[in-house]
Amino acid sequence: MKVGLVAGSVVSTISHPFFDGERLLLCDLLDIEGAAAGYTIAVDRVDAGVGDTVLILDEGSSARQLFGVETGPVRAVIIGIVDEVDLAAG
């Protein structure tokens, strides 16, 4: 999983049927220092909003289990809103 920051949303009318009714959020991926290091578009499962720090699942098999489907072109899913990240000193 990865930690990300919700930067915005993606609106799509024409999409693969899997994404019908799903909310897509554009998330900056954060490195260990909290700096943006690339981005991903993820399906939101926790009602995250812009500015939220989130936990992003980026693995297809788990994502499909989460949606209860055997097939589906899904991989990146927001599965949590992060309250805090504590790093050990050193």
Partner: protein
């Protein structure tokens, strides 16, 4: 998934089994501000409606194969949506 801009088409008559009827498009990956990043890729069109000039989002790796019917079509990138708007 990543944003991309469709910049062209690829026609291949001789293809591996499972690829019959699959359209291939050239896609330039974009950063979140829709600026080009990295080299263009060839992606299968899983929405069957994407065309040159369009802003799309693309899924990579095994999940790309899941976007197409039948299952396990041998592709590594697939266009799974046409983007109307990106709100940042």
């Amino acid at each position: 998934m990543q944003l991309g801009r469709v910049t062209g088409t690829v026609v291949a008559t001789i293809k591996a089994e499972g690829l019959e009827g699959v359209r291939f498009l050239i896609v330039q990956p974009l950063d979140k501000h829709q600026e080009p990043v990295g080299e263009p890729i060839v992606a299968a069109d899983a929405v069957h409606m994407a065309g040159p000039g369009e802003l799309v989002y693309v899924v990579a790796s095994r999940e790309a194969a899941e976007a197409l019917e039948p299952r396990f079509v041998p592709v590594d990138h697939a266009i799974v949506g046409i983007v109307d708007e990106v709100h940042l």
